[in-house]
């Protein structure tokens, strides 16, 4: 029960270290890095490897952006299992809808309230 906090911190931190290495060593832009991580998460789920990682690390696996690729794939696969090929199309946002809708909603709300500030 308590160990999930430790594994979450370590696994989440390590995924970020991979991202940092992509910044500093591979000289990738943030956008290229994040896209690559999302694709990696998606492929890992194809091999059925991402869900065990979530069992092991909890939010350490669900909070990094890799989980977004995993969730999209997972939704698509779950629907495909039920409805065949057409499910690949229809199931994609089944699991990830909360992240996207929260981002859109809070992004829009923020634009009512805040102004960008160029301070340090």
């Amino acid at each position: 029960m308590f160990s999930i906090y430790i594994t979450s911190f370590i696994v989440g931190g390590l995924i970020c270290v991979i991202g940092q290495l992509m910044f500093d060593v591979a000289k990738m832009t943030p956008a290229h890095t994040l896209c690559t991580l999302v694709v990696a998460g998606s492929i890992l789920d194809g091999f059925g490897l991402y869900e065990p990682l979530i069992d092991f690390a909890g939010t350490g696996a669900t909070i990094p952006i890799t989980s977004f690729g995993n969730a999209l794939t997972h939704g698509a696969l779950a629907e495909a299992e039920k409805h065949g090929l057409i499910g690949v199309l229809t199931g994609m946002f089944e699991v990830t809808s909360s992240g996207i809708s929260a981002a859109i909603l809070f992004g829009f709300i923020a634009s009512f309230i805040f102004k960008p500030k160029g301070n340090l």
Binding site: F9, G12, L21, P30, I63, L72, L77, M92, G107
Partner: protein, 151 residues
């Protein structure tokens, strides 16, 4: 001096990024975001009817809300400067990309500015996530139908 020679000279002078230091900071900041999320998940599991699995959805939404506040009050860019990928890779970084674009383009109006630019940074993540999910799921579904692998 030709370009190759200059590149060599430039490489010798331009400081290299402090990779180890950056990685440690990314580890700590990224780990901290995940740890906070774990406590939020605990909150949803304790006080609401969520399981370890279903708590992930409200947890992600809450983290994006926190990211909105940090971005709006000008703190996320400071966390990003310290944490690097530790601030970009967690879902809060996705939130930051959306929120920062939204408030930046407020000056061009809500439809053309905010609406037209809100996914300026996060859009590519969604595109490649969706496309790779489509390919992976398609391949796997076909392989299952052919009896090569099972769900």
């Amino acid at each position: 001096m030709d370009q190759k020679k200059y590149a060599k000279l430039e490489q010798g002078i331009t400081p290299k990024p402090p990779i180890l230091k950056n990685c440690i900071k990314a580890f700590l900041v990224g780990g901290a975001f995940c740890l906070v999320a774990q406590f939020i998940a605990l909150f949803y599991m304790t006080f609401f009817d969520f399981t370890e699995r279903t708590a992930s959805n409200p947890t992600v939404a809450t983290m994006i809300f926190i990211s909105m506040l940090l971005t709006g009050f000008g703190l996320y860019k400071k966390i990003g400067q310290i944490g690097g990928a530790g601030a970009s890779v967690p879902i809060t970084g996705f939130g930051n990309a959306v929120v920062s674009a939204a408030i930046e383009h407020k000056s061009e109006g809500y439809v053309l500015g905010v609406g037209g630019n809100i996914f300026k940074l996060a859009g590519s993540v969604i595109l490649f996530g969706v496309f790779s999910a489509f390919l992976v799921a398609l391949v796997k579904t076909i392989l299952v139908k052919l009896g090569v692998v099972s769900w």
